[in-house]
């Protein structure tokens, strides 16, 4: 190998190393893919594709949660906290399916019996029932577990457009126990949790990245699209554009006290205590 070639190889390797370091630093600003709130523990959870954090002070301080090997090489798509069961947490993502931790993220167990594959892209916990969960597998449909993920049952094919993100709400008026709202590539889709009929929730003719609702007033539903941020005060019939952070919102959750948390595509976490009239950037 000539000196020139050695030099070029050296420069090349140095560049790769530089990019790797820069990439690692940029990892701190990786897109936020999911937010959820454990009401029992008053804990906020934040997920990036390969990282999971919790905050016990509404986003001021964060603790990183170690992830099991099955998540490595895959990407987290959803995080859900069990209603009324403190420290019971679920993770979902394509490749590893559904994982459950009953000790606040110290130990994780796969919970995929009854799912057709581990390609779970959306997961939601029932708003009131501690052991009821909903999962979505593209091309296969929506599944329900009523035993904290131990077994899953196929419910239906899901909305025609597919599901990118899913929440369960205890909004009144359901034949059963609540409602499912799905972020889809063409608006928000809504169904009673009997899976009787998926319908368009109003007209939001845009890809929806995130959907959430205000637990103090369940008819208040928030939806983030590439085109903006919207609030419905009638369960998803009419949508009004509201203010949003500078970056595209990719994850949403509203705390029991009504604070709106928004994770963004550039990795930022924002919160609003006045129903999205103003925003404060948090360190996350």
């Amino acid at each position: 190998m000539t000196a020139t070639l050695q030099y070029k190889v050296g420069v090349f390797l140095a560049l790769i190393a530089t990019f790797m370091v820069a990439g690692a630093a940029a990892g701190a600003a990786e897109k936020i893919v999911a937010l959820t709130f454990d009401r029992e523990a008053n804990t906020l959870f934040l997920a990036r594709a390969h990282e999971l954090y919790r905050s016990n002070d509404e986003g001021r301080g964060w603790t990183k949660i170690s992830l099991p090997p099955s998540v490595q090489g895959n990407a987290i798509a959803a995080v859900a906290a069990s209603a009324k069961r403190k420290d019971m947490l679920y993770l979902a993502g394509p490749g590893f399916g559904v994982l459950r931790s009953s000790d606040n993220g110290r130990k994780w167990v796969a919970r995929n019996d009854g799912l057709p594959s581990r390609d779970v892209v959306a997961l939601a916990a029932h708003a009131d029932q501690p052991d009821t969960l909903y999962a979505y597998v593209p091309g296969k449909g929506a599944f329900r577990s009523q035993d904290a993920g131990v077994s899953w049952k196929w419910m239906d094919g899901g909305p025609r457009e597919g599901i990118g993100q899913l929440i369960h709400s205890n909004m009144p008026g359901s034949m059963q126990s609540g409602w499912l709202f799905a972020a889809t590539p063409n608006g928000v889709s809504r169904s009673m949790d009997c899976f009787c009929l998926w319908q368009d929730a109003g007209v939001l003719a845009a890809a929806v990245d995130a959907v959430s609702y205000d637990p103090r007033e369940p008819r208040h539903v928030y939806a983030a699209t590439a085109d903006g941020f919207f609030l419905s005060t009638d369960g998803g019939e009419q949508w009004t554009r509201i203010s949003m952070p500078a970056s595209r919102i990719t994850a949403l959750v509203i705390s029991p006290s009504g604070t709106v948390f928004a994770g963004t595509a550039d990795g930022g976490l924002y919160r609003s205590t006045d129903e999205a009239k103003s925003w404060e950037r948090m360190d996350a």
Binding site: Q129, Q146, G173, Q176, F195, C196, L197, Q199
Partner: protein, 152 residues
């Protein structure tokens, strides 16, 4: 007309027999109750939900009042997703779709018209319209609700 009725009766008997013969006990149906339920259904339900439980046309589409037309009760609908207590309650008390733009019930209440036994008979008849898998699902839903009052 007589031959049509006779054919219908034979069909119902065959369906119920098939239900009883083809399924395990868990999804068996009370054939006598279902037969009487069919008559009650035809008198009180068929106008909206169809003579064979096929539902109204375009039942997935809201009308100008925001109301959803009567859904099917057969295997194409979603009735089989509801437990016995829930079906009983919906028939007796009615139900209003919260996105209905009118104040009227989407499903009228029949408690003043039908006896509890007649409502049970209609539900038994509807079960003859479902697949064995749907009957199994519905039976499990009914069991779960009877075990968990909080889930009702």
């Amino acid at each position: 007309m007589r031959s049509v009725l006779l054919g219908g009766a034979i069909g119902l008997f065959a369906a119920i027999t098939a239900v009883r013969a083809g399924d395990d006990a868990p999804t068996a149906i009370d054939s006598e109750l279902a037969a009487s339920g069919r008559a009650v259904y035809r008198q009180h339900c068929a106008d909206c939900h169809g003579a064979r439980g096929e539902g109204a046309r375009a039942w997935r589409q809201r009308d100008a009042h925001g109301e959803l037309p009567a859904p099917p009760h057969d295997s194409q609908g979603h009735t089989w997703r509801h437990s016995d207590p829930m079906l009983d309650r919906i028939v007796a008390q009615g139900w209003r779709d919260p996105f209905n733009k009118t104040e009227r019930l989407s499903m009228p209440a029949f408690a003043g018209t039908l006896t509890p036994q007649e409502i049970r008979s209609i539900i038994a008849y509807l079960k003859t319209l479902w697949t064995p898998e749907q009957r199994q699902f519905q039976r499990e839903e009914s069991q779960r609700q009877s075990l968990s009052p909080a889930a009702r």
